[in-house]
């Protein structure tokens, strides 16, 4: 595939060498016109160039009266009924970004999906969407996607491909050779049905389940051991009164982070419920979840299981139970008091407690099950009955490799799996695939696995295809396409049905299955009415009969003790998924690459985290490249000195170093998957006994924040739960003025705001820092991704960022996240200094930035005390025609040389106001939602009219927890922050 222009130029030289730069056609503030009123593509004499020349030319006055070039209007020949140019259509759907399957609303304008929002009616995700879900709309327009099926990298027709596949499958089947379908765990019931039909068609066919990080597999396997069910339970953090997590990043990446974040926030709503679940986190490295924890203990990865075993032993003692073969605790680095505190806290709450663990270790999960069983929380905070069963008959990747080595496999089909990249045995797999007669992948791009298979039958993205999901028993959601497939692609379900000899469109298959299986459960008269309603809502709640979950069995427990000794070796490697790029599947996405990791604040790469003490001892600084050796594999990676990391740990994110993901992700970061250990046939992402050596090379890190301490400044305020319950202003006593005592002295009397007055309230207690809002803002407001070089120059363009500060001991600091956007100051320092009135105040209290008036002095940004203004240093690329489709036509694209910043989603304010006006009614509180607010899984952001005394924002602004930034400057910020409440004290709040 040819890339006419690199989306992210790597250097200025590269950009400068673009010969067409000055004459390149680009409209100033170009707004792609909707299909119904399409304009001709701007020609070489666009207005901006015209101005450029005019400004530089001495003959300015003479040419100023020239007319602009002719534009054409291309109307539809026949307009589809539902499309009115200029009006958005929303489709309820289900996310396919990870196994969580959150409910979505897809916004389309003139036939193009332009924004992903959460579906408030979805009972699990409840309106939240994570960064990956938000970014999926950009992946839809990814220019690196496969556009047609191929055989040996050459284009073929679908019919031809189908003929090939069917024949090869038949031959393999006839020869008794295995047919192996490599799949992820969660496909959704309908897709599973299609798989079953395929397996039924070919007796030698079996599934191989591959999940890059093995977390679900470990949980399901542990439940097979302890409960006899191969399933992942439904976790209910909202019902928990104390939470203990052993390395599970359940707010960031583990199982269903969006749903868990909302549940977690509710369990910890100190202001609303006057109580707060205490959260213990035991982990080897700082995760998003650890950053939110009240009590955090840093242990080595190899110690996690030991600490957990010790906990189980203590709980058993408290419960007065004898567990077979319980050894006495080996010596641990974790103090006795901490271990006892943890056990005591959990035991005090018993059924309200919830113990979870991350990682791919089955024994650890077995211990977790034991702990939950001892506490009696099964069926309450963790419910196996409401969980999802996973394919129990699936082969492991190791089994597939064994078969391949024995040459007993006749066909391998990869459906949404990329093991050549994600598995340490990928190289061997790739080599073995060569001898298999039929190899095929349905990946949406020519990825690392596709290059080693013969046939490529590309799938459309989730936004172009049908599907369904059941994330909790009785919660069934539909995925419907928001746009017809952009390319010559076909969904894997349709392909499987085709190859199974039962060709049927995906839609028909889905609808038929729903009619046969879902509708009877839901009850009702008319299926078509039920179906239409299901499509409209996106989710169906089925009545759930009482189910008895199998009980905990102690058999497997003894096995979990084994191998408890801490392995030798100086370093332990932890391979972990980041909040943005996860296992690497969505890597080719500029929004995800550029959103800063909530903890490390790194973009465009995967630096290895090491502990500050260790870094000091070794003389390593941020950006020093080290060589990590695990067995015979080595990877060179720059280090990042990360507070809260265990001194023995080097933690490297996976998902980077892609070679065949596309032009955005290729070559960004290093691929850490090869360092994964393989033990007992399983890929293990905690690798003890690695060596780390400095290379002396340096590779600067593209960080968006380089100073991590507040320097004693009161920008973030927090209080202990007990103190807060006693005094709602606790922690918030620091008032304006350098020495206290707020002042409202001013030379001026200010302006009155008689109508609306918009404001935000941000709850620091709820915010986990997950950064979904950052990506949502980027999508809504046409914010460019600027690339690694520009981030290195500290020029990221995000209108909204999340400041992350550390307090206390850098070995295990307390963390606070502060979403930071334009504060819409009443007395805005930026406005006063703009010479051309490009930024002034609106009558509704907004600090407006008028891009087309801006001449770009940057004085406003200098004078902004919160540094939220962003300058267009260059014309950031919006030149890939496909990727331009994602632009929001209600927001202009800014040209170079102008300042931009958060507008509080003024386009949404106006759209909703205009709608209310047309209906002749007043606005309702909560009717307008900013993009950041909408996507926030924790519902930490509230928008509204402070002039309306009944609005939530007005109430929050008067709350005891409310404070505003830099009040002593008398800037009159419109953004209210609410103090962060922690529950670290012993026993007072739980």
């Amino acid at each position: 595939m040819s890339d006419p222009l690199p989306k992210y130029w790597q250097s200025l030289a590269e950009r400068a060498s673009d010969p067409g730069f000055l004459t390149q056609a680009q409209d100033e503030f170009a707004e792609p016109l909707p299909v119904g009123v399409a304009a001709t593509p701007p020609d070489a004499n666009s207005r901006r160039d015209f101005f450029k020349l005019m400004g530089l030319s001495a003959a300015a006055a003479m040419v100023a009266c020239q007319r602009a070039p002719v534009q054409k209007i291309i109307p539809y020949v026949a307009r589809p009924d539902e499309v009115t140019p200029g009006l958005a259509l929303w489709y309820a759907s289900t996310c396919n970004g990870c196994s969580a399957r959150c409910g979505l609303l897809l916004k389309t304008r003139d036939g193009r999906p332009i924004k992903v929002e959460g579906n408030d009616e979805h009972p699990v995700s409840r309106g939240g969407v994570c960064a990956v879900g938000q970014a999926s709309v950009l992946s839809l327009y990814d220019a690196s996607r496969a556009r047609f099926p191929t055989r040996d990298a050459k284009r073929v027709a679908w019919a031809e491909l189908d003929a090939d596949v069917t024949q090869a499958l038949r031959e393999a089947s006839d020869a008794g050779q295995g047919i192996r379908v490599v799949l992820p765990w969660h496909l959704g019931p309908t897709a599973e049905a299609a798989v079953k039909r395929f397996l039924a068609a070919y007796p030698t066919a079996r599934t191989v389940r591959d999940e890059p990080l093995g977390e679900l597999a470990a949980i399901a396997e542990a439940h097979r051991v302890t409960h006899g069910v191969h399933a992942v339970p439904d976790y209910r953090f909202d019902k928990a009164t104390v939470i203990a997590s052993f390395g599970a990043d359940f707010l960031g990446t583990w199982v269903s982070p969006v749903a868990f974040t909302r549940q977690y926030t509710e369990a910890r709503d100190a202001a609303g419920q006057r109580k707060m679940a205490r959260h213990y986190q035991v982990e080897p490295m700082m995760t998003l979840t650890g950053a939110a924890a009240d009590r955090r203990f840093v242990v080595a990865p190899s110690e996690l299981r030991l600490v957990l075993a010790d906990l189980v032993r203590r709980l058993a003692v408290k419960a007065g139970r004898e567990l077979p073969g319980l050894p006495s605790a080996p010596p641990l680095t974790l103090e006795e008091s901490a271990k006892e505190e943890l056990a005591e806290a959990l035991w005090a709450q018993r059924q309200g407690a919830l113990v979870v663990a991350g990682g791919d270790d089955v024994a650890t999960q077995v211990l977790v099950n034991a702990a939950n069983a001892l506490l009696g929380s099964e069926g309450r905070t963790v419910s196996l009955a409401d969980g999802t069963a996973l394919d129990a008959d699936a082969l492991s990747l190791e089994a597939l490799l064994t078969e391949l080595r024995a040459a007993t496999v006749g066909a391998v089909l990869f459906l949404g799996a990329n093991p050549v990249y994600t598995d340490p045995r990928g190289e061997e797999l790739a080599a073995l695939l060569k001898q298999v007669p039929l190899t095929l992948s349905t990946s949406d791009r020519r990825d690392e696995t596709v290059v080693h298979v013969g046939l490529h039958a590309p799938e459309p993205t989730a936004l172009e295809s049908w599907g369904d999901a059941e994330v909790r028993r009785g919660v069934v959601s539909l995925r419907q396409p928001a746009v017809a497939p952009l390319h010559e692609t076909r969904s894997a379900v349709e392909s499987l049905l085709q190859w199974a000899g039962a060709p049927q469109p995906h839609y028909d298959f889905l609808r038929a299955r729903w009619e046969a299986e879902v509708f009877p459960q839901a009850g009702g008269v008319s299926f078509s009415a039920f179906w239409d309603d299901a499509l409209r809502r996106g989710v169906v709640l089925l009545p759930v009969p009482l189910a008895e979950a199998p009980a905990f069995r102690e058999e497997g427990l003894a096995k979990a003790w084994k191998g408890a000794a801490r392995p030798p070796g100086e370093w332990e490697l932890v391979l972990y998924p980041t909040v943005a790029v996860r296992d690497g599947a969505p890597a080719n996405n500029g929004w995800l690459q550029e959103v800063a990791d909530p903890i490390t604040k790194a973009t465009w790469g995967n630096p290895a985290c090491i502990a500050p003490a260790r870094a000091k001892a070794l003389g390593l600084k941020d950006g020093d490249v080290v060589k990590v050796r695990a067995g015979d594999r080595t990877v060179s990676v720059p280090v990042l000195v990360q507070a809260g990391t265990h001194p023995a740990v080097i933690a490297v994110p996976v998902g980077y170093g892609r070679t065949h993901a596309g032009r955005v992700a290729n070559g960004i970061g290093v691929n850490a998957y090869p360092l994964t250990a393989v033990r007992e046939g399983r890929a293990r992402h905690a690798v003890p006994g690695v060596t780390v050596e400095a290379t002396g090379a340096r590779q600067p890190l593209a960080l968006t924040q380089t100073h991590h301490r507040l320097e004693g400044r009161p920008h973030v305020r927090e209080a202990e739960l007990a103190a807060f319950l006693a005094n709602p202003r606790a922690g918030n006593e620091v008032q304006a003025g350098h020495g206290g005592g707020g002042h409202s002295l001013s030379m001026w009397s200010g302006h009155e705001y008689n109508g609306h007055r918009w404001a935000l309230a941000v709850d620091l207690s709820a915010c986990t820092g997950c950064s979904a809002c950052v990506v949502s803002c980027q999508a809504e407001n046409n914010i460019p991704s600027v690339g690694r070089d520009e981030v290195l120059r500290r020029r990221e363009m995000h209108w909204m960022r999340i400041d992350r500060y550390y307090q206390g001991d850098e070995a295990n600091p307390q963390v606070v996240h502060q979403p930071m956007m334009c504060q819409h100051c009443e007395n805005a320092p930026c406005e006063t200094v703009c010479p051309v009135l490009a930024t002034v105040h609106s009558s509704e209290g907004l600090n407006q930035q008028v891009y087309n008036r801006c001449v770009g002095t940057r004085y406003c940004a200098n004078n902004c005390p919160t540094k939220v203004r962003r300058f267009n240093w260059f014309d950031y690329p919006h030149d890939e025609p496909l990727e331009r489709m994602v632009l929001n036509p209600d927001v202009v694209v800014r040209s170079r040389g102008v300042m931009e910043k958060c507008s509080l989603c003024v386009q949404r304010i106006q759209e909703t106001k205009a709608a209310a006006n047309r209906e002749g009614r007043p606005l309702r509180d909560g009717e307008i939602q900013t993009a950041c607010q909408q996507s926030c899984p924790a519902k930490a952001i509230h928008f509204g009219d402070v002039n309306d005394p009944d609005s939530q924002v007005a109430r929050l602004a008067k709350d005891g927890r409310a404070f505003r930034l830099l009040e002593e400057l008398n800037i009159g910020s419109s953004i209210t922050y609410l103090t962060k409440i922690r529950n670290t004290g012993s026993g007072s709040g739980a």
């Binding site: 924040q705 009135l837 919160t866 170079r896 102008v898």
Partner: protein, 492 residues
């Protein structure tokens, strides 16, 4: 009628006094001769630097401000540093001309013309930066208030940048007018010396028909005095307003009331340093040692000691106030200046601006042109760093630690700065070639004072004067051979 009293102890302002005619000859001769190879070399270098700078600016305008090293936190650095630096340089010219004129400091006469020219050229260099630092410089005209079809969207008169627009353009205009008015009599002198031809035609137009009429001289003196009186507060206001770019902001390290006097003192300080730099070169190259005497240089070094002291006091006061205010952001900003990542720049500034001027307490240094020259360069460097320190160290770490960042200039920024020196020296070298760089009329009047108090020593004229009839207007006059006959008469 009598002249004002002059002490007999007073040293002559112009040594080796000579006749009026010799003086005219001496000042005008360099510009009437073909340029020397030295001039050509210097001019060639200056034009090359200017051309390179223009190319760099063109690249920047075509590509975007991104070619500079600025970022989301540091929105100004080299650009505004250079702007303030050049505006500061531009201060001494009008100050020497206007304030010293009002204070009747007759010693100004040898240096005021060149100093004023320096002002103009420096202000040109300075004015370049506010334009090219814009993201969209082709829209720079939007800072002017003019009626338009945007509902008549005007400009923000509350913005210090807009004040700057008015201050800098007024300063440039008034300085140019002041300079030009001062030039008119000398232009007439050059006109009357020139043979018919292009030179004569050009100077004829430029001298506006000046005849030396005393009725005009009398009004001229009034105008000159008025302009001096207007220029003096103007000079002070310009740097005051420039300082308000910072002082009216909210950024710790910028938001201080001491800035106006501090900036004015700094500007005078740096301006005099630049005048010294240029004058020392000029007097050597053009052989003006007797016109720009050691006494001139020494007087200027004394001003440098005073203004250097003022600047030092300002530095100290800033620190004191930062501590005394109790404002933690202020305190941090100043600690960060002195001990933060840009401490090296701060200590360069202190060394150059606080320590080095004190060397002028030594007479030996004060009277050694080479030493003065070296120190003037040191002070210029120091004053550049002062602006850099104020701008960059205040911005790079302000209120929210999350946004703290570092700044490193790019070659484009350095190149642009060097390019402005090309512009400055190109203009200055042209000025040296085409206009009398010393005010002939004023030096003549000073010569009169000198001559009245001291018996003029006899000495041969500097150079034989061509035996050609002096041009006498366009109307032939019958009885003027005498005029030529008395040309070489001994002084009366």
């Amino acid at each position: 009628m009598s002249h004002q009293h002059l002490s007999s102890l007073r040293e002559p302002l112009v040594t080796e006094p000579r006749t009026l005619g010799q003086l005219t000859e001496e000042i005008c001769a360099p510009m009437e001769r073909p340029p020397t190879w030295k001039w050509w070399v210097a001019f060639g270098i200056a034009v090359a630097v200017l051309g390179t700078g223009a190319g760099i600016v063109g690249y920047q305008v075509a590509t975007g401000i991104g070619v500079w090293g600025l970022n989301k936190t540091i929105g100004w650095a080299f650009d505004i540093t250079n702007f303030v630096f050049w505006v500061g340089i531009g201060h001494a010219g009008t100050l020497i001309s206007a304030i010293l004129f009002l204070f009747r400091q007759k010693w100004r006469t040898s240096i005021n013309r060149a100093a004023e020219a320096m002002t103009l050229f420096a202000v040109m260099c300075a004015a370049l930066f506010p334009v090219i630092h814009m993201g969209r410089p082709w829209l720079a005209f939007w800072v002017m208030p003019y009626p338009n079809d945007r509902g008549s969207l005007w400009v923000n008169f509350r913005s210090p940048l807009l004040w700057d627009v008015f201050a800098i353009s007024t300063y440039f205009t008034v300085s140019a007018v002041f300079w030009y008015v001062g030039l008119i009599p000398d232009l007439a002198t050059v006109r009357d010396r020139a043979k018919a031809g292009l030179r004569k035609a050009v100077f004829k137009v430029m001298s506006l028909g000046w005849t030396g009429s005393h009725r005009t001289w009398s009004r001229y003196e009034t105008v000159y005095l008025l302009l001096a009186g207007l220029a003096t507060p103007l000079v002070l206001s310009v740097h005051t307003i420039v300082s308000m770019d910072f002082a009216t902001s909210v950024i710790p390290g910028w938001h201080t009331t001491i800035f106006p006097p501090y900036f004015v003192a700094g500007a005078v300080f740096s301006g005099f340093a630049m005048v010294l730099t240029l004058m020392i070169i000029t007097r050597v190259v053009l052989g003006y040692e007797h016109l720009i005497t050691l006494r001139h240089l020494e007087n200027m070094t004394k001003i440098i000691i005073v203004t250097g002291g003022l600047v030092s006091l300002a530095y100290a006061t800033e620190f004191f106030i930062a501590w005394y205010s109790g404002n933690p952001y202020e305190r941090f900003a100043f600690m960060n200046r002195a001990f933060g990542p840009y401490a090296w720049a701060y200590w360069i500034m202190v060394t150059c601006n606080v320590v080095s001027p004190h060397l002028f307490w030594f007479k030996k240094i004060r009277t050694s042109p080479a030493a003065i020259f070296a120190l003037s360069l040191v002070i210029n460097v120091g004053m550049w760093f002062e602006r850099f320190v104020i701008i960059v160290t205040s911005l790079h770490r302000d209120f929210l630690p999350s946004s703290w960042a570092m700044y490193t200039p790019t070659m484009v920024e350095v190149g642009t700065f060097i390019g402005t020196f090309g512009l400055f020296f190109t203009l200055f070298l042209l000025f040296v070639r085409v206009l009398p760089i010393i005010s002939i009329g004023e030096v003549k009047s000073v010569l009169g004072f000198a001559r009245d108090g001291h018996e003029a020593p006899q000495h041969p004229p500097a150079k034989p004067v061509a035996e050609e009839p002096h041009p006498v207007a366009h109307r032939p006059v019958a009885a003027v051979p005498l005029a030529i006959a008395t040309r070489k008469d001994a002084p009366v």
